[in-house]
């Protein structure tokens, strides 16, 4: 996507530069960025040098919050929880979405109905999803263990057991694959038929066609879904807040949840800000990696 944007800008070189008009058009974003992103990030950095509960007066403590952080086992735990969630949830969701898109894209009767059914969960989000799933995950009265019981399987305690809680949340994230499926579907429908015909002439098998035509042609969609997936999993909050409150035994203490807890449960604003600064740095690095990645691996049809 980024590669394409650059080439477009170059193509437009024949247009006269129009700095003022450009600036006017993008000015809303510049103001918003300065007010609600740029300044807050800098301000977070400043607050992180204080001990402050927002009620009493702030106390300057230099880099103490960062020193505390590097000795804080929950800091490392929450980092690894967010990482593990991302590492599993994003690829799994991509695989499920791609499989679903390939199936729905077949010329079969009722494909549209299936598409609608599979997409339906994606129109529900946030608190409602968290509510439905925490009730479904109920070890005794929940539907999941009921169904497992039909097959004489003693279901686990899901989100109420510290070993199962994170896998439960990953499982739950797979339910809403509809958005990614649609992106893949659009990508699939844009692959020109002659590419497949050419591959067939070369004697490619079904799998060969998938590997050499479908996958490369889908690479922009894959990258897009990958980036959106990473963004979403970095922001997982509602589920953790509503379903487990970060527990049991901090097993679902996602990094942003830990920021929230320090900020708005313990009113440790300095520490919360220090955590924010670290997250900001991580996000910055991941973004840079993504930009690099997109330049190297993505095939464009142009």
């Amino acid at each position: 996507m980024v590669g394409r944007s650059l080439s477009n800008v170059r193509e437009n070189g024949n247009m006269k530069r129009n700095n003022l008009a450009g600036f006017i058009f993008i000015s809303p974003w510049i103001i918003g960025f300065l007010l609600f992103t740029g300044a807050p990030v800098l301000y977070s950095f400043a607050i992180s040098a204080f001990r402050w509960n927002l009620i009493s007066s702030p106390e300057f403590i230099g880099f103490d919050n960062y020193v505390t952080m590097f000795h804080d086992s929950l800091f490392y735990k929450s980092l690894s929880i967010t990482s593990i969630y991302t590492l599993f949830s994003v690829p799994l969701q991509l695989i499920v979405a791609l499989t679903a898109a390939l199936l729905v894209n077949q010329k079969i009767r009722g494909a549209k109905v299936f598409r609608t059914m599979l997409y339906l969960p994606s129109i529900i989000s946030g608190v409602a999803v968290a509510m439905i799933w925490s009730w479904m995950f109920n070890p005794k009265f929940g539907v999941i263990n009921q169904v497992l019981g039909w097959f004489h399987i003693n279901g686990p305690e899901w989100i109420y057991n510290e070993h199962w809680s994170l896998p439960s949340m990953i499982l739950m994230s797979l339910w809403s694959f509809g958005g990614a499926m649609i992106v893949f579907l659009a990508g699939l429908q844009d692959i020109p038929g002659y590419l497949y015909e050419a591959a067939e002439l070369d004697g490619a098998s079904r799998f060969g066609k998938f590997l050499h035509v479908t996958l490369p042609m889908l690479s922009p969609s894959i990258l897009f879904n990958l980036i959106m997936g990473i963004i979403t999993s970095f922001q997982v909050f509602t589920q953790a807040y509503v379903m487990t409150d970060g527990g049991p035994n901090n097993s679902t203490l996602f990094f942003v949840m830990y920021i929230y807890q320090n900020g708005f449960q313990y009113f440790n604003m300095g520490y919360a800000s220090a955590l924010s600064v670290v997250l900001f740095v991580i996000v910055f690095i991941v973004t840079m990696l993504q930009l690099k990645l997109s330049k190297r691996f993505v095939t464009y049809d142009k």
Binding site: G32, L35, T37, V41, Y43, I123, V183, L185, S273, L279
Partner: protein, 283 residues
């Protein structure tokens, strides 16, 4: 020869059966949670803890919905949510369109850097900036009003800017050039030429924005405390009250009520949900 066609046909039948089997199972998995929610929402607070659970409640408690609507000021929450969603969509779509147009169609110094920055800010979770924002809104006296949920979105949202920009980039250049020859300014071109062509993508972006505002939870959680300005996401949680007693039947009923507008919108504008992404030129 005949046997070969037959075997191909058999192969196809097997394939199709397999595809149907997978799709049917997948659809059931997708739908069951919603049915389970509906079923639970129609039980009494005691029946909900019965084993084995009834899938179809023998005495459906339609009164649960009445209880949800009356125990909490549900319509007030609904009104607030509609207000936030409405003002939010207008603001974010308008501003995002402006910004995206500027980036896609106007050649100006620094546009690349700005676009990169916008992509980068898409990654920043709202929790990163929440503490300073909380202080900012305290200074402005906006805490415990709806403004913090709406106003920051009036300056363009990165995701929407991105989608719109992809669309604008794909529009043929010749349109602008022709309009320019007619003596139209860039602003007029934007308003009179580009916008009318952009209805599908604007609809798609509006739907994305609708889903965002309707389901926004984190910001209301931080900024809203008065009943009179609560949104639905907070309202639902009222049935998960303190002392570890959760009234699942009412919770499920409240969640159902919250979903209805989304489901209606989905079936009315299905095209834009499931085709929107290709309309926007995003692949």
């Amino acid at each position: 020869m005949a046997s070969k066609t037959a075997s191909i046909r058999n192969q196809r039948i097997i394939n199709n059966t397999l595809i149907y089997a997978i799709l049917i199972i997948a659809s059931i998995v997708a739908i069951v949670p919603i049915l389970w929610m509906l079923s639970s929402s129609l039980k009494t607070g005691i029946d909900i803890y019965m084993l084995p659970p009834e899938w179809i409640p023998s005495k459906p408690q339609w009164g649960n919905f009445h209880e949800v609507l009356t125990r909490v000021p549900f319509f007030t929450y609904m009104k607030n949510t509609v207000l936030v969603t409405g003002l939010g969509i207008i603001g974010t779509v308008l501003s995002s369109t402006l910004v995206a147009y500027g980036l896609a169609r106007i050649n100006f110094r620094g546009s690349n850097i700005v676009f990169m920055l916008i992509l980068a800010t898409m990654m920043i979770p709202p929790q990163v900036t929440i503490v300073p924002q909380f202080l900012l809104f305290r200074e402005l006296g906006w805490n415990n009003t709806l403004a913090p949920l709406i106003v920051p979105e009036w300056f363009g949202s990165p995701y929407n800017i991105f989608l719109l920009r992809q669309f604008f980039v794909a529009l043929p250049r010749s349109l602008d050039e022709a309009a320019m020859l007619d003596g139209l300014s860039v602003y007029k071109i934007f308003w009179k030429v580009t916008l009318p062509l952009s209805k599908p993508v604007i609809t798609t972006v509006s739907i994305t924005a609708f889903m965002f505002f309707w389901n926004d939870f984190f910001k209301p959680l931080i900024f809203i405390s008065d009943d009179s300005i609560k949104t639905l996401t907070l309202g639902i949680l009222e049935f998960k009250n303190s002392f570890n007693v959760i009234e699942w039947n009412y919770l499920m009923a409240a969640a159902m009520l919250m979903l209805i507008p989304c489901v209606v919108l989905f079936f009315v504008a299905q095209r834009y949900f499931v085709e929107g992404i290709s309309v926007s030129g995003m692949k």
